[in-house]
Each structure stands twice: as C-alpha cells, then as structure tokens.
Amino acid sequence: MTDQSLLNVVFVGHVDHGKSTVIGRLLGDLNALPDGKLEAVKAMCDRRGMPFEWAFLLDAFQAERDQGITIDTARIFFATDRRRYAIIDAPGHKEFLRNMVTGASGADAAVLIVDAQEGVAEQTRRHALILNLIGIRQVILVVNKMDLVGYAGDRFAAIVEEAESRLLSLGFDRSRLTAIPVAARNGDGIVAAGDKMPWYQGPTLIEALDGLDEKTAPVGLPLRLPVQDIYKFDDRRIIAGKVEAGRLSMGDELLFTPSGHRARVASIEGWPDAATGQTVEAGLSVGLQLDDDIFVERGEVASLPETPPVLADRFRARLFWLSETPLTVGRRLQLMVGTASLAVRVLSIDAVLSSEDLSRDEDREDALRHDVVEVSFEAVRPIALDAFEDSPATGRFILQDQYRVVAGGVVLRDGLTDRRGGAGVKSTNITRVIHSVPTEDRWRMNGHRSGVVWLTGLSGSGKSTLAIALEEALFRKGWQAYVLDGDNIRYGLSGDLGFSPEDRAENIRRVGEVSSLMARAGQIVITAFISPYRSDRDRARAILPDGFHEVFVDTSLAECERRDPKGLYAKARAGEIRDFTGIDAPYEAPETPELRLVTDGREVEENLRELLRYIERQFAL
C-alpha cells in the first residue's frame, strides 16, 4: 500500500439487485475478511438451515438476517495496492431511503448495481437522482447477475444504454461513468475477469475502483469559513470554524456575512503548538484571532472581501423530502446551512421531479415523502449562501421540523440574487462632504449632545406613547428632540414598502439613515419602531455607533394583546393579517440594550421618568 488515503464508495441500487453480494464477494476474493468471519457466517447458515449468502457478511443486524434486506448503511474497510477503501452498503429498499442518503452523502464515488435480468428499476432511477442531488460525480455501473442471462453481451449493452442515458440526462459526465458486467455469486468480473465474458475487454470492479479519482479539497474556490463558535477560554478571543473552501493567510482581510463586519487575521491559533503556520486551506478546522474586536457570531460566513457569498433571503432549491407529512406552500421549517440556523417559509413549489422519467411536474401543490422537488424559500432574514455548483459546502442545507430532519437539499444558482447592494452604496462617483460646522459645535449651541434613542418592542408595548411623551418633556426643558414614528414614516418615506422581512429591513435602513442625519444636525432623535430583527437594529447602530441608544420597551406579548390599541392582534389571530410580529413573525429581543424598561404593571409616568433620567444622564454636556 503506497498511500494512506481513503476513498469512500457507496454501493446503491434497487432492492435484491445484489449490492451486499457484490461487496461480500469483493471482500472474500480480496482475502480482506477477518479470520473466522466467513466460517462463522457459514456456521450460522447451517444452524438456521439456509444456504450461504455472501450478503450475510454485511447484514449484521438480527432483523436484516431475518428479512434478508439491508436496513441501514454498513461500512467495511479494505485496501488494494493502490489505496484504502471504505465501502458503504446503502439499503435498496424504498422504506430505507433516509439511510441510503445518509450513506451516500459521505461518499466520494458510487457503485450503482443493476440486475441483468430485471434491468433499470424504480430505486435504480431514484438512487441516480439522489446521487446527483447530493453531489456525487463518479459512478461505476455494475450490471450484476450476468450468469442469469447466460453472460449475454447484448443484454449487457441494452442495460448500459438505458442506464447511461438516464445518468447523462441528470447531468453526469460521460467520462466519469464506467460500466462493468458481473456475476457476483460466481465472482466473475469482481476481482478476476473469469472466462465467461470474452466479449468484454474493460476493467474488473476492483480495477475500476482503483481507477477512480482521489477526492480533492476545494482549495481553488473562494474562501468560505462558516463561524462555528467564539471561544474565550483564556485571554484570547478565538473565532473557530472549518475552512470549507479556499485558503486563508495571516493578515488577510475577512468580510463576515451577513453582518458586513470586517477585520484582519491577526493569528492562526493551534494546540499544542501555539500557531499552525501562515496559511490554512480547505478541509482544516481552525481558530483565528482578529486584529479588531468586531461583533461576530455563529452562523456568519467569513470570506475575502472581493469574493463574498451571496447575501439573500429568497432562494430556490432542489431538495429530497423525507417527512411523511407532505411539503406544502406556506410551511415554516428550520433551515441549517453552514453553521447558520434560521426559519424559512415555502413561497412556492416549483416542480416535482419524476424518478420514473425525470420529467418536471410543475402543477403539483405539494411534495410527498421521497419526492425530489424544487422549491422557492423566504428566510426570516438574509443569510450567506452560494449556489451548490459554485461552492458546495455553503450551497447545501438540511431542513428540520422540530427536532427531526425532514429534507436535505442544494441551493440553485437560478434566482439567487445578492441583497448586499440594498444596504450598501450603488453609485460609485460620490464623495462625502466634510461639514465646516462640526456636530460638537452644534451641541454647545444647543446645550446638549445629540444622538438616536431607538425604542424597540412589540406592537402595543407603548413605544409611541413613550416617544411622544419624551419628546414633549425634552422640548419643555428646551432641548432639541424629534420623534420618528413607525406609522408616520410608512405614510411617506417608506410608502413603497410592505411587511416582508426584506421590506422591514429596508424600512429600518432608511429610518437609520434619516436618524443619523438628524442626529448630526444636533437633534435627539427618538424612533418608535417594532424593528423585530436584531440584524436590522445592529445595522442602524452601525450608522451612528457612538450616539446610538437602544431602549427595549419590554412588555409581554400577553399584555400587548390585552391592550391591542389598534385591534391588530385580534386581526392577526383571526388570520386577517399575515407576518404579524409576535404571532406569526418573530421578535428578536435585544440582548444587551442600553436601557430596558419592563412596563408590565407600571404606569406610563413611571416609565417616562426612568427614560428621562437616562436621557439627561447620557445627553448632558
């Protein structure tokens, strides 16, 4: 053995087409079984009065021996002169497709087994579809049980033609397909060619396996490092994660998506050695220190600034649906992509792919268990995504319902548009004007500082009431203060926006910009917006980092619903309003607001006094 590397090969195919037999024979002929294993299985067969089967070597479960089928994926290791292999035996029975996909998604290549008598069957087609979906590109097609068709070359050719045409139509590359005739029970074509098929000049199964390409880490792709965690075990603040694509070096500037924060790599940490070197590349789990204490959290993706992932909250995907409950439009599920986890909603079911003939059914309104389906999603907030074909690790996902995995899928390039433009600057020929009257001079003139007092809380929590009362109190003191209220802004500045997550984000962005301008003009700006998403508020804070005061008007949902000043909760409960914060849209409470007002059971005056005390302390010169 010249190399320690390991190739993971999954064996798939329709039930009873002989996967376990092919593997059992492969191990037997390679003399790769532990001493006594073969004898033990033969003795077991004698004891039970049944003929010996090569498949019994793999099917270790009692239940599988009884029923004669493979329930779950098994793993067997062996080596040739070329390299080591892990064989994944995936079940062919339809009931166990979730186990088949589990085995296949860890594989570097697949062996697809077809019965020479029966030909391409239902699970052959479905397995080919799933192999393609999860990104396996190398396939060895084994036509088994050639002994049962008299080792006939024309039968082999007919099956290969049918199977290959399906694989090619799925997008597999002809140069990465190999077809081999085999009679596993007799050992023909597995390790030795045998003399039964003189018409076949190609490789045996073992030669074809040795001819597969090594897997290669995607070092050449743009850098993708999903943040797993931030560690502060000692005086270091370490950003931990696995480099999924590309490479990263000391001193590189990193852009974190979705936050947009940037910092440089100050060190690449290691243990037991203090540092692991100057550069790390795809495949390695790493830890970094940054040169700046920016706010970064689990779920963000680090990239180089020039080649970022797409920032999107709407995307199209192809997925494999595994739940017994059908997938329908409007369904809410938990998406996990990279290390990010967030709620998504099904906007539309675009097509269900038939495993029969791979046709697209675009009229279906739901997807059933084991369907491969194309779906449009909307996420509660924008996240970092890539098309699967561009960068696999950040372009694939799972969907969870409660604690169960109900689907796995890939992001399609078609329909994936970056929202980053919306929050950034589109025009390029602009230069900021430097004012000759500094904001500090305006403070001296007014007798107080300026800034933004950002009230956030549920609808009905009392934000507007407090904002208006505060504005009046400050005005009577002779201070410059002005309220930006949610409903007022939506009549004018944001009249073109609705209440989808992206419209809410855009609304808050505009309010943040206007607040910042007014604050620079010397005003104490008081805003009263639900602003349910943490990321939106953080973006507003980023516009005026020094003068931003987040005030959490913390009123319980029950209390807000009891008050219901605009009758909106009643309408939301009755289903007349959709996407209502607290009912069917999330509210992400501030974790570290500058001030938290717990209003349940308190008079407005009491809350106002506390708020006013805070403002006077913060804004006095």
Binding site: A60, Q62, A86, I134, G283, I398
Partner: protein, 264 residues
C-alpha cells in the same frame, strides 16, 4: 493535507458542533486508547482546554494500571472528572449470557449517572470498523431519555450538517471518531505522541488490544511493545479488534441487545 489531518479536522468540527449546540454535554473517558484520542482532540478543538466534564463509569473491575493512569492525567490535563458506580451484576437481566450480563452493569451505571447529573449530550469514542452494529451508527444519534437506541428509526444525516440538539427530555450520543479505523487511531497516537495505559504494549509475549473489565477481557499473543510495532502488527493481522471482548461472541445477538439498551 494528510489523511490524519482530514480525520482530525472532521472530528474537531463535530466536537465544536456538539459544544455549541448541546447544553449539558459530557465525554465518556473509559481510559482506553480511543477515549484518550478523544480527550486529545477536545484539547485541540478548544486550544488546550477540556471544557466539559469527563465521565468514567467505573465498574470497579478495571485494571490497576487504568486507575493510576486516570489519576495522573486527570491532573496533568486539567480534566473535570466525574465518576459513577455500577450496580451489582445480580440486578442485571439474567437472560443475558454471563459476560454480556457483566458488561450491562456499565449501561446501568451510565443511566444512573446521567440521571444524577442531568446530562443530555454524551460524547463516546466508538468507531464504525469495530463491529457490524457500530458501523450503522450516526454521528449524532438521538436516544430516548433512558438511552435506548431505536436503530430502526434513525434520522438521515446529510453531509456534515447535523441535527445536534436533543429533543426535550431526550439525549444525544455524539460519535466524533465514527469514521476512524483502528489503524488510524494508532497512527494518530504515534504522530501526536498521546500517552496510553501500558497494558496495550506487549509483556511476556502478550498484550491487550482492547481494554474492558479485568474478568471479561483477555490479552492477545503479540510481541508489539511500541506504537510503531503495533502499527506494523495491525497492517498484517486478520484478527478482529474486539476478539478479546467475551461479550461480543457469546451469541449472535448479545451485542445487539446491549447496544439497543444503550451500551456504548
């Protein structure tokens, strides 16, 4: 990147996922070679720290060398050690064969300890190549509150995207070494110079290949007295790793029954 780098990185990724997503997490430290590799990987993943308790479910019948090893490295590696005792064999299912019945004490001890400490995440160093049942395990394997394993209803696992959070009242078994082989473990021990109980190394023509309780584990015939010699031996042997573990061989399904009940 070498094959060992790749194995190590994947294990670290799994450990970090478990740490980020499971609140009452612990690692089983049986003092054997695999669980020492596991502790080593935790220290790599968390830059020298073992941020979760290491649990030794003590049957009271381990080799004296193992207890000495535990006391030494508990201090040296700054490990928060939690030990749990096992109930007497008389309380175990009498229909199990003798060695399996003795091994079942460990499962019962683990269940008591989990109940006492309130753990909902258990990291264990099992590998797919150890034996047929373990080959079918998931990296994140959800268990009922009492630890039973329903192997007929295992969740799918797509790529390295894990459903890691245990459902309320349930526990998650985490298996960061599932993709390693016995030979990988030894090559990694050699590369990283990881200390081991010296029972693994041959004395008087015998050594232990797998360490369990004194009364149900037997040594193999071997002259391999160093890690390098063990690697050479493993490259040619065709004897199964757990051949010295009596409970694996008593009857066809004894081990399956142990695993279904929550055995590691």
């Amino acid at each position: 990147m070498t094959h060992l780098d790749e194995l190590e990185s994947r294990s670290i990724h799994i450990l970090r996922e478990a740490y980020a997503r499971i609140d009452q997490l612990m690692v089983l430290w049986s003092l054997g070679k695999d669980s020492n590799v596991l502790i080593w990987l935790l220290r790599k993943a968390f830059f020298g720290h073992v941020p979760i308790p290491a649990v030794h479910v003590d049957t009271g019948k381990k080799f004296p060398e193992m207890y000495a090893f535990r006391e030494r490295y508990k201090t040296e590696w700054n490990i928060r050690l939690v030990t749990g005792e096992c109930p007497p064999v008389e309380e175990m299912d009498p229909s199990l064969p003798p060695a399996a019945r003795s091994a079942a004490r460990k499962t019962a001890g683990l269940k008591r300890l989990i109940e006492r400490e309130g753990y909902n995440g258990i990291i264990a160093g099992i590998r797919r190549d150890e034996e047929g049942l373990r080959a079918k395990e998931r990296v994140f394997s959800p268990r009922a509150s009492s630890g039973e394993w329903d192997f007929r209803d295992q969740p799918p696992e797509f790529w390295d995207l894990f459903s890691a959070e245990p459902a309320p009242g349930c526990q998650m078994r985490v298996h960061p070494l599932l993709h390693w082989t016995e030979l990988d473990i030894w090559r990694y021990i050699e590369r990283e110079n990881i200390p081991l109980v010296d029972l693994y190394f041959a004395r008087d023509g015998k050594r232990y290949r797998s360490l369990g309780d004194q009364d149900i584990t037997s040594p193999i015939v071997s002259d391999a007295a160093t890690v390098a010699e063990i690697i050479t031996e493993l490259q040619t042997t065709k004897v199964a790793e757990r051949s010295g573990r009596a409970m694996d061989h008593e009857s066809e399904d004894a081990f399956e029954r142990l695993r279904a009940d929550g055995y590691m």
